[in-house]
């Protein structure tokens, strides 16, 4: 069975759904953050798939930039989580409810 665009897209969709479920149900911010990253990766996989389908490089190039920006973003995100832990002593999202009411 040749692997085609459909397989790539289904894989990307499944990864995206797993990530989304993680964001919705997990309570640990680190796990939520990992799930978010999984969603982002699923999107980039879609870009690569379309790039291959269209036989063009622009999707792949786009992915390079996304990876670079994502690396920077992970640094900031993890720093935020560390800062949060220092201030509040927890990274469980159901204990961080200062936006309530």
């Amino acid at each position: 069975m040749p692997v085609g665009i459909l397989h790539h897209l289904v894989l990307a969709g499944v990864l995206f759904a797993i990530g989304l479920t993680g964001v919705l149900v997990r309570r640990n911010l680190i796990a939520v953050y990992m799930s978010l990253e999984l969603m982002l990766t699923a999107c980039t996989l879609g870009l690569v798939a379309f790039s291959k389908q269209n036989n063009a490089m622009d999707g792949n190039l786009f992915v390079f930039f996304i990876i670079t920006v994502a690396a920077a973003e992970v640094a900031v995100g993890l720093a935020l989580i560390v800062a949060l832990f220092r201030k509040r002593g927890t990274v469980r999202s159901d204990e961080l409810t200062s936006l309530k009411n």
Binding site: M57, S93, D94, T97, L99, N101
Partner: protein, 634 residues
């Protein structure tokens, strides 16, 4: 062995050693050291085979395509040419003996696996820089040496100062590397290539090249070789184990910046302005580092300032348009400075990790081999005639004079005097007089793992590495020229003899020899007697505390601290308080927060404002689904 297999072995052996050590031998006592030493030995053997079998003229080149983006091809290529050959010999030779020394020095360390794996990954990276055939590949390995330097500085990561020093080294290098990367991109967009051979064959005239390309590429050198104004990281980097200071922060990695400048200078990528900048910053740093070395009592920090000073010499030589002399000094410096660091390691090891020179003393009789190696490499760095350092250092001063740059000559002469002063001081404080602490009193000579490298690098090479320049050209077909493989000496000897010839025509050879001897005698004589007077303390600190404090003070670190605390931090605070707290949180979010209940009543507030992040995420997903339904259905 074909050149291609040789190149593959040169990179493959250390990489495999590093990977196997990191994966399987992290806790083992002998696994990683043996593998690492075997890899270093392989590198030395293969590079000697390669250099002895090469005629020194036709460059050896192999190239593979790494990946393709449209028309753009990224290549991984290995190039052994006239500049790479001396560097390859120096790096592989010095590195092998520092590996041997490390086995003795790290005998009581609990993390030997990590240390030797780090050394091997460093060897992989530095060989990559030496043999890279284009700037992109250089950049990749450039970052890898930065990583291994970071990892090895932080070897004692449970000490706060070592963790901080590794971070400082890494971040300072980032600043330089940003400029370097921009320079590579600019070169590529301007000339359409970053391949060294293509650039060299294009015969670019330095004056027609945009100055910005040279200046930006120079940023990489400024960061990696700790040149002004990014020199602040090198003295802190001494927090790493001493063999690391010798190998990475004196002999090879910091000198890789000089090597790159030499390669680019041969390609003609530097406009005259860029060369002038390099000359003056190099000469200035040479003088500054040479004097600041007198303001440190820590033996390694004092040597680190000496390294700064000599990197300044090399930068000045490139700036004077003498890349051959810069590479020659880099090679000679690798031998004698590695020895000086290894001697300091031997002393520190014998004194139970005491690094304060004023607490040493009287080690001459207790550690004769170390003292002899220190004396010879010390005389070499002070440019004692016919010692290795004399050939290169003296020639840099001569080059400044031949070019008519009297200002630079004056700075370099001050630096040369500084060298004699700090070497005399070190020898006086560490090896002469009486022991000033119990540790120094009980010191004894190190074992053979440590003394053999001292003999080879210190006594043989610091003395005779330059002798291939004294004779005329090597006999036709000879494989060795002095202590160097003949093919590695072509480039160096050519530049040396050309300059020597010019200097002889102007009648400068004898005056320079006389000046060098005067500087040497005055410097060594002054310090050997001056530092005799106050045992257990630094004579300058006792006699003139203000001058000592001025030398010891970290002017540039303080300036950067001030900038970060008073400029950068203020800007960040402005954004944090005005933009984030006031505009976004206060005027925008709080307004919406207050507005919704006013429109939708208190019930909305009860059910929508749950405060739980997952609820908000669910609302968001729900909203997106609603929007899609809306746009599909309607």
């Amino acid at each position: 062995m074909t050149p291609e297999t040789a190149f593959q072995t040169l990179l493959g052996a250390p990489l495999a050693a590093a990977a196997i050590s990191a994966l399987f031998f992290r806790r083992s006592r002998w696994g990683a050291p043996v593998l690492s030493l075997a890899a270093a030995g392989t590198i030395l053997w293969v590079s000697l085979q390669l250099l002895l079998g090469w005629d020194g003229h036709e460059a050896l080149h192999t190239s593979y395509t790494w990946f393709k983006l449209g028309d753009l091809e990224f290549k991984l290529g290995f190039l052994l040419d006239k500049t790479a050959a001396p560097m390859l010999f120096t790096v592989s030779f010095v590195a092998f003996f520092i590996h041997v020394f490390s086995i003795g020095y790290m005998d009581d360390d609990s993390a030997r696996g990590r240390f030797f794996a780090g050394l091997s990954i460093f060897m992989f990276s530095i060989v990559g820089i030496v043999l890279a055939d284009n700037l992109f590949m250089t950049f990749v390995f450039w970052e890898l040496v930065g990583f291994s330097s970071y990892m090895l500085i932080a070897h004692y990561f449970d000490k706060d100062y070592a963790a901080a020093a590794s971070k400082k080294a890494f971040i300072t290098n980032r600043v330089g590397d940003l400029g370097f990367l921009l320079g590579i991109l600019w070169c590529w967009s301007h000339y359409g290539t970053v391949d060294f051979q293509v650039l060299e064959n294009a015969k670019l005239a330095g004056s027609g090249v945009p100055a910005a390309i040279g200046l930006l590429l120079m940023c990489g050198f400024i960061g990696k070789s700790a040149q002004f104004p990014l020199h602040v990281w090198l003295t802190d980097a001494m927090a790493g184990p001493t063999p690391v200071s010798a190998l990475i922060h004196a002999a090879t990695m910091v000198a890789a910046g000089v090597y790159l400048m030499v390669k680019l200078s041969v390609c003609g990528l530097f406009a005259p302005v860029a060369l002038d900048v390099m000359l003056w910053s190099g000469a200035g740093l040479a003088a500054l580092g040479g004097l600041c070395a007198l303001g440190q009592t820590d033996i390694k920090k004092s040597l680190a300032y000496s390294t700064l000073s000599h990197l300044g010499f090399m930068g000045a030589a490139v700036g004077l348009g003498r890349p051959e002399i810069a590479l020659l000094h880099m090679s000679m410096h690798a031998f004698f400075k590695a020895t000086l660091f290894l001697c300091s390691g031997s002393v520190i090891h014998a004194c139970h990790h005491e690094q304060d020179m004023t607490r040493m003393g009287g080690l001459l009789k207790k550690m004769p081999v170390t003292a002899a190696a220190f004396a010879i490499s010390g005389l070499s760095i002070c440019a004692f005639p016919y010692f290795a350092g004399w050939y290169s250092k003296d020639m840099i001063l001569t080059a400044a004079l031949v070019n008519g740059n009297y200002g630079a000559f004056a700075l370099l002469a001050i630096a040369a005097l500084g060298t004699a002063l700090y070497i005399g001081r070190m020898f006086r404080l560490v090896f002469l007089g009486n022991a000033n602490s119990d540790e120094a009193g009980h010191a004894h000579e190190s074992n053979a793992w440590m003394t053999i490298p001292l003999v080879v690098l210190g006594i043989v090479f610091s003395l005779g590495a330059g002798w291939f320049l004294s004779g005329t050209h090597a006999a036709e077909g000879a494989r060795m020229n002095g202590l160097f493989p003949a093919s590695a000496t072509e480039f160096l000897a050519h530049g040396y003899h050309e300059l020597h010839h010019t200097a002889a025509e102007k009648g400068l050879v004898l005056p320079m020899l006389a000046l060098g001897v005067i500087i040497l005698v005055v410097g060594l004589g002054a310090t050997l007697s001056f530092y005799k007077k106050t045992p257990g303390d630094d004579a300058l600190r006792v006699k003139s505390p203000k001058l000592y404090a001025a030398l010891e003070r970290r002017w540039f670190d303080n300036a950067y601290d001030w900038y970060i605390a008073n400029v950068q931090q203020r800007v960040a605070e402005f954004y944090a308080f005005f933009v984030d707290k006031f505009l976004l949180e206060g005027l925008t979010i709080r307004a919406i927060f207050a507005g919704i209940p006013a429109v939708g009543g208190i019930l909305v507030r009860r059910f929508l404002f749950t405060g739980r992040m997952s609820d908000y995420a669910a609302f968001f997903v729900f909203g997106v689904i609603l929007y899609f339904l809306y746009s599909v259905v309607l």
